[in-house]
């Protein structure tokens, strides 16, 4: 008999048993008939036959052992028994399953997000072979004075690299996009859409291993400056969204950057670009999409270099030849075009920048991924703690149930059941709980993970993460629930099997010293987990509250931001936009209008200028102020407090004026105790001649770029060109509803400009705190769940302990104990684990809070307020849990309690 038939016969033991009986019965009849034929009386013959055959029950048992794998059958029996137990303790089972499902579901959702953004390799064949090339820029290149890996190169360097390692690896170039750009599809009736368009070398798709879903991908013949083809390939997800999956998309034309491309293919899902978190909507051939100037200029960086190693070639083998090429190239560039601000050792550092050949299987780190890596791991940490709470909760529940069933266990042991068998049964019950919870958890995660993804992206750039329950997510949930089952099942299983039958059966079920001990530990652990969750969540919530209640220095209500672009970049003449502003200021609903070079609250998406400055008679300043070009009227439009001096005059904007306005931080930093008005300084740029500047006004500090950065010394310079800048319009009311109308007004008043995008300043501010807001939201949710779980757990355990002590308390009262002392006894009994758990939880919380530090804003883990809240919450939950049973026990009639025996 095969394994299958063994197992299948285990599923229907009744059938097999009947067959066996039948067979043995036949034997008996035959033997008896023979004996009768030999002359024995029938009755005697039947008896003899039976005696000869032996004990039919034993016979059956030993045959059955052969016929069905015995352990399969015992498993099945335990499985059925477990289900009966779950049904019998319906409320407890329900509570256990729901709390486990919530915790496992939260963990699974966190895993799905982390997997999609960080862990999962690109959905391409053998992603482990993919590489990209980076070099480390020396510290003095960045404003924060940190060395930084740069992963873009010039096109000439790409060609040199590619040719150098031609016989060892295939390299190709891409221009990846961090933002969106307007594109005009020929079926849209003239309305442009913001999409993420990237360009790629002709061999790029082939080397990546991407496949077309429809039509074809970009090929080497397309990618030629001289006779390439202006073609475009859509990503599958974009095609589904934009064209509803219609094959008619093929052959359509799209205008990107004033050039037309014909759509020739759809890349097969799930590939959607090499930057996890971002969906590439459209790919174009590199040498046609890029400006010829960019391709030709050896100093124009911006091309990412990727490649694929053939099997057997190591990344290290490419590093040395590529490093030589890079160093030679940089030396040559420095010789031809010496940088003015670098000399000596700095120059050496620049030309000797180390090159790295990196594993690119996980895709390129997008801004998005950098921003969310830490918050997602924090989320995972909180989820894991939540899971531990749920586990200890369920373990408590199982322990309590195990002691309720001690009599049953004792009976089974004395009837000869093995301890291993009892443990098996107890573990199976845990496994059933966990399995049911895992199923619910997957449903929970399938709902929650996409809902979180929607909240991850800024309003303008929706995040794109594939968090659909794939095999990895399901495997994770399954593994986690198995682990969970062991975690909460092992202690009760040991306890169940460690029952001493004679003591149990004799004492009628009231020995509880050992059990009270393990219960107490579980309780302390549970409180520790809950306190740390509440503590960490509290930090995140407090920090978020600080962040949103911060004084911005300007008012954001009813301000709309419009990004302006020149309609025809080639023919564009710089224009201060003064006429446009004049026109807008006279519109009925508009209160004020101004222009600024950088979008306020642009966060990481905005390029910030930080020039080096020098005051006459002083050395170059080591701290670099931030330069913010703005139009006249910016301060009044943004409602920024004015401290001294005056605003720009219109003629200062029009002429190339030397007037600047600085902020209070600038004065505090560079000119403490002096009257800043009229002070002159120089701005040093790449240009050899310093630009003289004179301070004409001082404005209050504002948070310009994001909420977190403290006020930096800033220089406001007159803004000379409206194109490429942001128009800030303050309306009287209902800003959102005025956007389309204002857009038309702007484009009518300034026909040389086009509005690239618009956003309310309020949403723009919100977008800079997406990570914090998400964490705060989830932290709030999780702390409620943690509190709920902890409360239920506390109540369950303490109540259980009280019920078990009913008899003891009855005796005490009968012997004259006062009711108040009984209450005190029970409260002090519960307070030890509560206090111990709290201390542990706070210690662990402070330890883990260091990991959160980068996400916290003006909140310290050791602040009293951040500690007080979780402690108070747990205390309240503890008191609520212990008092009712204590009072009930104390007010119990001693006679009833004793008669209970």
């Amino acid at each position: 008999m095969s394994w299958i038939s063994r197992i299948s016969s285990a599923f229907r033991p009744a059938h097999t048993a009947a067959d066996l009986d039948d067979e043995l019965q036949f034997h008996l009849e035959q033997r008896a008939a023979d004996l009768v034929r030999q002359g024995m009386p029938r009755r005697e013959a039947e008896l003899l036959a039976r005696r000869q055959l032996g004990n039919p029950l034993g016979l059956r048992e030993s045959s059955q052992q052969v016929k069905s794998a015995a352990w399969v059958e015992s498993l099945l029996r335990d499985f059925r028994f477990g289900l009966r137990m779950l049904a019998r303790y319906r409320t407890a089972s329900f509570a256990a399953i729901v709390s486990l499902a919530l915790a496992i579901g939260a963990c699974t959702a966190a895993f799905a997000l982390i997997d999609a953004l960080i862990l999962r390799p690109l959905p391409l064949p053998t992603p482990g072979q993919l590489i990209d090339i980076a070099h480390v820029m020396p510290a003095f290149f960045s404003a924060d004075n940190q060395p930084r890996a740069s992963d873009t190169f010039s096109y000439s360097l790409y060609e040199l690299f590619r040719d150098t390692v031609r016989d060892r690896a295939d390299l190709f170039a891409m221009r990846l996009s961090a933002g969106l750009q307007p594109a005009l599809f020929d079926d849209s009736g003239g309305a442009s859409e913001n999409i993420r368009a990237e360009s790629i070398s002709g061999r790029g798709f082939e080397i990546l291993g991407a496949k077309p879903f429809l039509g074809r991908l970009i090929q080497p013949a397309d990618d030629s400056m001289a006779d390439g083809h202006p073609v475009a390939v859509l990503s599958y997800a974009f095609w589904k969204r934009r064209f509803g999956g219609s094959p008619a998309a093929l052959g359509r034309w799209v205008t990107v950057d004033r050039r037309q491309f014909q759509i020739v293919g759809i890349a097969a899902a799930p590939f959607g670009g090499v930057q996890p978190g971002y969906l590439t909507d459209l790919w174009l051939p590199l040498s046609i999409a890029a400006e010829p100037r960019q391709l030709a200029d050896p100093d124009s960086y911006g091309f990412s270099i990727w490649g694929r190693l053939p099997p057997g070639v190591e990344r290290a083998q490419l590093r040395e030849p590529l490093q030589a090429v890079l160093t030679n190239f940089l030396r040559e560039r420095v010789r031809i075009n010496p940088p003015r601000n670098l000399r000596g050792a700095q120059l050496q550092q620049f030309t000797g920048a180390p090159l790295a050949v990196r594993d690119a299987s996980g895709g390129r780190d997008s801004l998005f991924r950098q921003q969310f890596r830490r918050p997602l791991w924090i989320l995972a940490l909180i989820c894991a703690l939540l899971l531990l709470i749920a586990c200890s909760n369920v373990a408590n529940l199982m322990l309590a149930r195990a002691s309720a069933r001690e009599a049953e266990m004792a009976l089974r042991i004395s009837l000869g059941a093995g301890r291993a068998r009892l443990m098996q049964q107890s573990l199976i019950e845990s496994g059933q709980l966990a399995a049911l919870a895992a199923v619910l958890a997957l449903v929970f995660a399938a709902v929650v993970a996409p809902a979180i993804v929607v909240r991850l992206g800024p309003t303008e750039f929706p995040a794109w993460l594939d968090v659909a329950a794939g095999s990895r997510t399901v495997a994770f949930a399954a593994a986690l629930s198995l682990l969970t089952a062991l975690l909460f099942g092992v202690v009760p299983a040991f306890r169940a099997s460690a029952v001493s039958p004679d003591a149990m059966l004799r004492a009628g079920g009231t020995q509880h010293s050992a059990r009270a001990g393990s219960l107490r530990w579980m309780l302390a652990a549970q409180i520790a987990f809950s306190v740390s969750v509440l503590f960490l969540s509290g930090l995140l919530l407090l920090s978020f509250r600080k962040l949103i209640s911060i004084d911005l220095g300007f008012t954001s209500d009813n301000v709309i931001l419009f990004d302006l672009s020149p309609r025809q970049p080639g023919a564009h003449r710089p224009n201060s936009g003064e006429q446009l502003l004049e026109h807008l200021r006279h519109l009925p609903a508009v209160r004020a209008a101004s222009i600024s070079q950088q979008r306020p609250m642009g966060g990481a998406m905005v390029w910030i200028m930080t020039p080096v400055i020098r005051f006459p008679g002083r050395a170059n300043e080591t701290v670099r102020p931030v330069e913010v070009p703005v139009s006249a009227g910016f301060f009044s439009a943004m409602q920024i407090r004015w401290i001294a001096g005056r605003d720009f005059l219109p003629e200062e904007i029009a002429a190339n004026s030397a007037s600047v306005i600085v902020n209070q931080a600038f004065v505090d930093k560079f000119l403490p105790g002096r009257n800043p008005i009229g002070v002159k300084f120089e701005k040093l740029t790449d240009d050899p001649d310093p630009v003289p500047q004179q301070i004409v006004g001082v404005a209050a500090n504002i948070r310009y770029n994001n909420l977190r950065e403290p006020e930096q010394p800033s220089i406001y310079t007159p803004l000379r060109d409206a194109a490429g800048a942001t128009l800030n319009i303050r309306t009287a009311s209902r800003a959102a509803s005025l956007v389309p109308w204002l857009r038309r007004e702007i484009e009518a008043a300034a026909p040389e400009l086009t509005v690239r995008g618009s956003i309310l300043l309020g949403s723009q501010i919100g977008d800079t705190m997406i990570g914090e807001r998400l964490l705060a939201l989830l932290a709030g949710f999780f702390s409620v769940v943690a509190l709920l779980l902890a409360g239920v757990g506390l109540y369950g355990v303490i109540n259980y302990a009280a019920v078990r002590r009913t008899r003891e308390i009855g005796i005490r009262i009968a012997l004259g104990a006062r009711r108040s002392s009984v209450v005190r006894l029970m409260v002090s009994d519960a307070s030890l684990p509560v206090v111990a758990g709290m201390a542990l939880g706070i210690a662990a919380g402070i330890g883990m809070a260091r990991y959160l530090a980068s996400q916290l804003f003006e909140v310290k883990p050791t602040d009293f307020s951040s500690l007080a809240a979780p402690v108070a919450c747990i205390l309240v939950a503890g008191v609520a849990a212990v008092l009712p049973p204590a009072l009930r026990a104390a007010s119990a009639d001693p006679l009833i309690a004793l008669r209970h025996e």
């Binding site: 008999m1 067959d19 066996l20 039948d22 067979e23 043995l24 036949f26 034997h27 009849e29 035959q30 033997r31 023979d34 000869q52 055959l53 032996g54 004990n55 034993g58 016979l59 030993s62 045959s63 052969v66 016929k67």
Partner: protein, 108 residues
């Protein structure tokens, strides 16, 4: 009568031989056949059925249900090719062991 233990190892051999020679038989039939041939050997009936089921498990014999002339359900066993091979091996082993033992007994 030899102790049943001595027979334990050889019961499958006898069953296979009987089934090979006499064709499909039910459990009682096998007992009856062995007893008819040898007045010395008596099959311990209690060990016959577990042995049959183990042999079935090993694939040496195959069982099926039939209905006898007097409308009684009976389970009959028949030898399989694998069982025939087993019979061959067992028989060879048995005769060589028996011969060896005989030799020792004769010459000791």
């Amino acid at each position: 009568m030899p102790k049943q233990d001595a027979l334990q190892g050889s019961l499958p051999l006898l069953v296979l031989k009987i089934l090979d020679r006499r064709g499909p038989l039910h459990g009682y039939g096998i007992t009856a056949q062995i007893e008819a041939i040898s007045s010395l050997l008596r099959v311990e009936e209690g060990s016959l059925y577990p042995a049959l089921h183990r042999m079935e498990e090993s694939g040496w014999i195959h069982a099926r249900w039939i209905t006898t002339e007097n409308k009684r359900r009976a389970r009959i066993y028949e030898i399989t090719p694998l069982g025939r091979k087993q019979l061959n091996d067992e028989e060879r082993r048995w005769t060589s062991v028996a011969a060896a033992i005989g030799e020792v007994l004769a010459q000791a």
